[in-house]
Amino acid sequence: MKHTEIAIVGGGPAGLAAALNAAKLGARVHLIDRNDYLGGQLIKQTHRFFGSKEQRASERGIDIARELANQVTASKNIQVMTEATALGYYEDGVLLVEQHKKIFAIKPERLIIATGGAEKTLLFPNNDLPGVYGAGAVQTLVNVFGVKPGKRVLMVGAGNIGVIVSYQLLQAGVEVAAIIEAAPRIGAYWVHASKVVRAGVPIYTRHTIQRAHGHREVTGATVVQLDENWQPVPGTEKEFDVDVICLSVGLTPLTELLWQAGCRMVFVPELGGNVPLRNEHLETSVPGIYVAGDVAGIEEASAAMMEGALAGLNAAASLGYTTESLGLDRRNILAQLEGLRSGPVGEKIRKGLAQALL
């Protein structure tokens, strides 16, 4: 049995920030990630971030991931376990971890769950054909491995991910036939959307995919217009000759460990599905278990880093670690989070978070 002060599950933006901030206060941390690298989904994000300077605006996710991972690796308070999968958390406070075909039992005094989210799918005939991908999946293929998913893409969903990945596909030399969006308005920031429209990609709002075509792989798609009650309008079908269909229809939190740990959960559509109830310290209904990032509600990576920093500071502070600037640091992060979630763009998140407070 290994003992540690704080175990963090997930080495993406939230987990990295949590580890650095807890370690900065002096806590001993185990950071556990199932991948063979740190950084989570930041490693495929080649676009520049929004926000203010503290939130690393205008930096690219890939560069942020590299820098945070380097800091984590250099910290003597942080023990990194990669290729390590958290299998379960048990009643006696033991976290079971599998690494290189060996099982480790870790007993942490505090646990921060930062497992992130997973892409949702959409129901339509032939949605299981090879050639139907999550938009993030294609982003990984293109930006991390330099490999194209096919020749011509239909993007389903005009939120930030759909529009940004469409642009990144164009940068990689892949044709994007169209972006379709079931809602009457696109969800993406206009600065991203205008870039793809200027490049000649049409965005059809109030349109959805009716079916994919193909026998062994995707060879096309039928798209249909929706009326004001979200019902297909007969006679408006359009055929697209595409070999790739990207679904960018939102993410859902990866909450398995939270359910198993007995954290009280609540279904909040604005946050992507079932999320843990949490207090202002990001502590769940199970004392000593904290959450940060997409697992607590789907948001942007900038917010995940802020939440991670907060959870890391709070978990370390609850063990008695402190610094002179702790109060100020926490208030500063809270103010930044509030800034990120302000205005019309943050309305959905604010509404969602109000339902998830303990």
Binding site: R34, N35, D36, Q41, T46, R60, A118, E119, T121, D128, L129, P130, G131, V132, Y133, G134, G136, A137, V138, T140, L141, V142, N143, F145, G146, V147, K148, P149, G150, K151, Q171, A172, G173, R216, E217, L254
Partner: protein, 101 residues
């Protein structure tokens, strides 16, 4: 299909290695995922579903969804979207659940 030119990214590839897919010899780069190497060779069908025998391919590409399970060096249920390619790997289309040894 590999990306030849990119405005921001430079792709550092590992050493070229040989592997087989259903007996066919292919080339890829060491350290990339098996799924990436297969896509680069234009192969997108990775598995056959257990009941309806439907073709399945990559969906999430981050080791989460189990859509891309294949038989690698005789071992079934390998998530090829996160398994790194090595010289001489024997990669096969998985039919159904695969046999556990």
């Amino acid at each position: 299909m590999r990306i030849s030119q990119h405005p921001i990214l430079e792709f550092k590839t590992g050493t070229k290695v040989k592997f087989t897919f259903d007996g066919r010899e292919l080339e890829g780069y060491e350290g990339e995922t098996i799924a990436a190497a297969l896509h680069a060779a234009g192969i997108r069908v990775m598995r056959e579903s257990g009941h309806l025998h439907r073709p399945r391919g990559l969906f999430c590409n981050i080791g989460n969804c189990s859509s891309c399970l294949m038989v690698v060096d005789g071992e079934p249920n390998v998530r090829v979207c996160v398994e790194r390619l090595r010289e001489g790997m024997v990669v096969e289309t998985q039919k159904g659940k695969g046999e556990l040894k």
